[in-house]
Amino acid sequence: MKLTETLTDLANPTRFLALTARILPWLVGVTAILLAIGLYQSAMAPDDYQQGATVKIMFIHVPNAWLSMFVWGVMSVAALGTLVWRHPLADVAAKAAAPIGAAFTFLALVTGSLWGRPMWGTYWEWDARLTSVLILFLMYLGLMALWRAVEDPSRAARAAAVLTLVGAINIPIIKFSVDWWNTLHQPASVLRMGGSTLDKAFLWPLLVMAIAFSLLFITLHLAAMRNEILRRRVRSLQMMQASRVTFTSETSAGPKEIGAA
């Protein structure tokens, strides 16, 4: 009950803006501190007996890869919010998340191939995990193209929501690709049945980095949502002004989407 009340409260963009204005500085601070700790711990982590110093790429690669899937999950929930509950903030959340998710996916691909060159002897291999993440990246780009192709935000939101939910099928495929197919990419070692196989010296920095990157996503996402709301307000104000200039008598019939952002 409490959660639904909070969500209903947040349907008012002004209230959302006020709340995030209070939260954001704290989030930025905590994210910066955790990132600093995580980076320090990663730098201090011992070299692996097989991989040498390249193992440290993992501390960046794994959180990015996790978040690339997590962000699509967030967008899928937002898509449900758009289609089922018509929550006014849901399409803002979905739109703001897409470029951030694309960036995380891109970083996961780049760090992975930088690690793969010394370890596997190749930057790229068409195995199931790598291919499915590349498809995820393409779908992020397609979604961003869809958002940009349509002027009316609410129309674009509904189309993007359908596409996001269809694309969500890819997420379990990525997650389990290393189990279903015999891939070059190693299977999961942190979250698996029977506990983690990672040594504590690597596990702790990785967990700190994962939390730091998740907080980074939340911070960036909230900031991007604020920007999107403000951008929509500016747009509707501009449209109102334009209609006032052209039809001076019809000022009352301004655009409908003020505050609906």
């Binding site: 289609l83 291919t131 498809i135 393409l138 779908m139 780009l141 397609g142 193209a145 869809l146 192709a149 349509v150 129309r155 674009a156 509904r158 189309a159 929501a161 359908v162 596409l163 939910l165 269809v166 694309g167 099928i169 495929i173």
Partner: protein, 222 residues
């Protein structure tokens, strides 16, 4: 039920008559296949190795090309609004339209495959394998493509946007279609393994496609 049958009959008839454009897909398929030997060189051994991949790519592009027409014409003359408002569930109507589109535009591609297989130096088993995988896989292409077509018609944007949205979704079908054909020709895998995954993909698309397309039509049309 009769309403759906009537819809299927009507769509097939429109697609096959002048201005329907379903058979242009086959012509496009032929052209793409003929273009390939010019690009990779007329080496028959190489062509027979690339053959299944070329045929699959051609079929994928040809089915993408004709997808644009799935909803656009109906949207322009207003019959799409009638379909949306009618008493038949929109999901079933979408499935019927996709089925009709597959019969009119997808089946001719499969019929043309043996002829094109000759051009690419494929032997009997290879041609049969490619035709079988296309028969199992093209419904998946049509039904996922329908989602893109529905999005495109509600956004009044077609063409490149449709291709960008639909092609990533069709990659799994392409992977297992080509894998099954290769398995039948040379591969160490038995034909049945990738082929049954391909059939599973098709069945899943048969369920997901109509629902997603109907959702986007219902939310997007005004």
């Amino acid at each position: 039920m009769s309403a759906l049958a009537a819809l299927i009959r009507r769509d097939i008839r429109i697609a096959l008559r002048a201005g329907g454009g379903a058979l242009i897909g086959v012509l496009f398929f032929l052209t793409v296949t003929v273009l390939m030997p010019f690009a990779v060189g007329p080496d028959l051994a190489l062509l027979s190795r690339l053959g299944p991949a070329i045929l699959w790519l051609g079929a994928l592009l040809a089915s993408l090309l004709t997808l644009d027409r799935l909803f656009t014409a109906d949207h322009e003359d207003g019959s799409l609004d009638l379909i949306v408002m009618s008493r038949t569930p929109l999901e079933l109507a979408c499935a019927a339209k996709a089925l009709a589109h597959w019969i009119a535009a997808g089946l001719p591609l499969i019929v043309a495959t043996p002829v094109l297989g000759l051009l690419l130096n494929l032997d009997g088993t290879a041609t049969l394998a490619v035709a079988a995988t296309l028969l199992a896989g093209t419904p998946a292409l049509t039904f996922t493509g329908m989602i893109g077509a529905a999005l495109a018609v509600t956004l009044h944007r077609g063409g490149l946007l449709l291709a960008v949205l639909v092609l990533p979704l069709s990659i799994p079908v392409l992977i297992f279609g080509v894998a099954a054909s290769q398995a039948a020709i040379s591969g160490p895998l038995p034909f049945g393994t990738p082929f049954s995954i391909l059939c599973a993909l098709s069945l899943a698309c048969l369920v997901i496609g109509p629902f997603a397309a109907a959702a986007s039509l219902r939310h997007g049309l005004d």
